[in-house]
Amino acid sequence: MAFEIIETCVNCWACEPLCPNQAIVESRPHFKIVADRCTECIGDHDDPQCASICPIEGAIVDEFGEPLNPPGSLTGIPLEMAMSLLEKARRAQSRGETAA
């Protein structure tokens, strides 16, 4: 039983000092959770601390790979909107590059 930090982590350090078990370590390309030490905060806190401060949706997952903060849960940006708008911005950018 342990959480995992995946590649969408932006290395913001917010989780690191909160872990009651010092299970979070700075690492490149992104921070990691030492599985042996992670207790998912059971016995220490009502909510897992890393997942409660992490600003990036999907960056921390449980043992089944399920995100603790699923898309849309933190920013309020509906997933489809985020995808389609980002896609539009990307297309506009590549058009610009072609034109230049």
């Binding site: 000092p17 009502d46 409660s52 933190l74 985020a82 506009a92 950018q93």
Partner: protein, 501 residues
């Protein structure tokens, strides 16, 4: 003909006449402050409109973590073409930050202020932030220290802030009403839990107000920043201004929302717009009756280095710093000399203005027909002079000239933001954007200007003028205003809107 410069009126003269009692230029803005506070801020580049042309500041990015989410921020974003708060390219350890500060202070002797502003919330990274302050207080005692915060962790940090002799704290306060707050802050992290919506906003607001009261009670200067978000908190900010003033904040800085879809922020993606220059100005004017307003803020990056409006961060990246060998003792001596020189120059200018003020008489043209106020844009690279080539200007200082004098209104950036679309880096569209940003101005003053932009500006109804190169900005604006009045080009009926139509 001589025009008085409103921003430089002595306190006694400025009390009654000018309806916007804090016009934004330094003299006026700071003249309302008690002497002790004025002495602290008058040489601070971020607070003093004239000092910012001379003294430089830097931010060190030592604070990556944040304890709240704002709808105008995306924690994934890091673009070196972009210039806005919360964005940085290189995170520093306290040790690296101290080294960088000392190197910059040696290379840029007019650097007088070190701030920690992010990229997260400095007080959500207390160890890193306070270690940096602790060491700098000891190793570079001549540098002023500042910090900005969202306020959530402020009450618990006040003791430590007071210990490091940090005399300026900036709190970003966007609202007093939790229902408005819930539309700006989706969540806060509080007492080991993520708290969403109105309840989260309520906690944040409570902590901000408590922190503000605690700081002012201890005599620590507090500036309040607010982000103007049209349709969400724009009207509400007048109330914010009143309340924070009553609680002792010495300056209120209303900044425009920056939101583009390509930033990936909630506001950017949902099409929330920022205010127009006119809307921002109107709100600043409305708040000015209650509060000293700050108008020359450049919304610097969390790792900005140099004079306000410029960023020399690229010269001081970690690998470059490593190669620089600094004799810090000698650098301190040079700094003291350079500063003494600047202070003497500033004081001389301030005294000169005060003298000119006493000598000035009611304007001969006041009350005559044909003297409507106009706006003038100025290209300046510092020292308070018209001294920049039009094509090199990345921002313009906008002044209003009227029969009451000349007052500074705002700094308008033109090509500083990476638009990230097909306009990026395109000279033609930078000019388009400049013209759009200056559409309410009738004259643009610069040291020189190319043939093509000259024609384009004229076609857009903005008269380029290179005849006042190297002159003092206010004096040049006053002279231009006088020339236009003499030519009969300031008839009250012929206003900007009519001309544009």
């Amino acid at each position: 003909m001589e025009l008085p410069v409103i921003g430089q009126m002595p306190a006694s003269a400025s009390g009654g006449g000018c309806s916007a009692s804090a016009c934004g230029s330094s003299g006026e803005q700071l003249s309302h402050l008690p002497e002790a506070i004025r002495a602290k801020v008058q040489d601070h580049p971020c607070y003093s409109e004239d000092a910012h042309h001379y003294f430089a500041r830097m931010h060190v990015a030592v604070a990556p973590a944040c304890n709240i989410q704002c709808h105008y921020c995306n924690r994934k974003y890091d673009c070196s073409n972009e210039s806005r708060p919360g964005v940085v390219s290189e995170l520093l350890t306290p040790d690296q930050a101290v080294k960088k500060t000392k190197v910059v202070a040696a290379k840029i002797p007019q650097m007088s202020v070190l701030g920690i502003a992010g990229p997260g919330d400095p007080l959500a990274n207390p160890q890193r932030t306070f270690e940096t302050f602790r060491r700098l207080s000891a190793e570079a005692p001549d540098i002023k220290l500042c910090v900005s915060t969202n306020g959530l962790a402020l009450p618990e940090s006040v003791d430590e802030l007071a210990r490091h002799n940090i005399d300026h704290v900036t709190i970003t306060i966007n609202c007093l009403d939790p229902e408005i707050g819930a539309r700006i802050y989706p969540w806060v992290f509080w007492r080991n839990k993520r708290i969403f919506g109105i309840e989260g906003a309520r906690i944040l607001i409570e902590q901000q107000q408590k922190g503000l009261e605690m700081l002012t009670a201890r005599g620590i200067l507090v500036k309040v920043n607010s982000v103007m978000i049209p349709g969400i908190n724009d009207q509400h900010l007048k109330e914010v201004s009143r309340v924070v003033k009553a609680k002792g904040a010495f300056l209120h800085n209303v900044m425009p929302l920056i939101a583009e879809a390509e930033h990936g922020t909630f506001y950017g993606l949902t099409g929330q717009r920022g205010p127009t220059a006119g809307e921002l100005q109107e709100l600043q004017d409305a708040c000015a009756g209650d509060m000293n307003m700050m108008r020359h803020c450049r919304q610097c990056r969390a790792d900005a280095v140099g004079l306000l409006g410029e960023d020399r961060g690229e010269e001081f990246t970690l690998d470059k710093i490593d190669e620089m060998d600094i004799d810090y003792e000698q650098a301190m001596a040079v700094r003291a000399q350079v500063r003494a020189g600047i202070t003497a120059e500033l004081n001389a200018k301030r005294a000169e203005r005060a003298d000119a003020e006493v000598a000035s008489r009611p304007l001969p043209m006041a009350g005559e027909a044909g003297t409507r106020p106009i706006r003038i844009a100025v290209a300046s690279s510092g020292q308070g002079l018209v001294n920049q080539h039009f094509g090199h200007a990345r921002e313009f200082l906008v002044y209003e000239a009227s029969t009451h004098g000349v007052r500074f209104l705002a700094a308008r950036k033109t090509d500083l933001y990476c638009a990230g679309d097909d306009t990026c880096g395109d000279a033609e569209s930078v000019l388009d954007r400049t013209i759009a940003a200056l559409s309410d101005c009738e004259v643009v003053l610069c040291s020189k200007i190319g043939f093509e932009p000259w024609g384009r500006l004229e076609a857009a109804g903005i008269t380029p003028n290179g005849e006042h190169a190297m002159e003092e900005i206010e004096a040049a604006c006053a002279a231009v205003y006088g020339e236009l009045a003499a030519d009969g080009r300031l008839a009250a009926t012929c206003d900007r809107a009519d001309r544009a139509a």
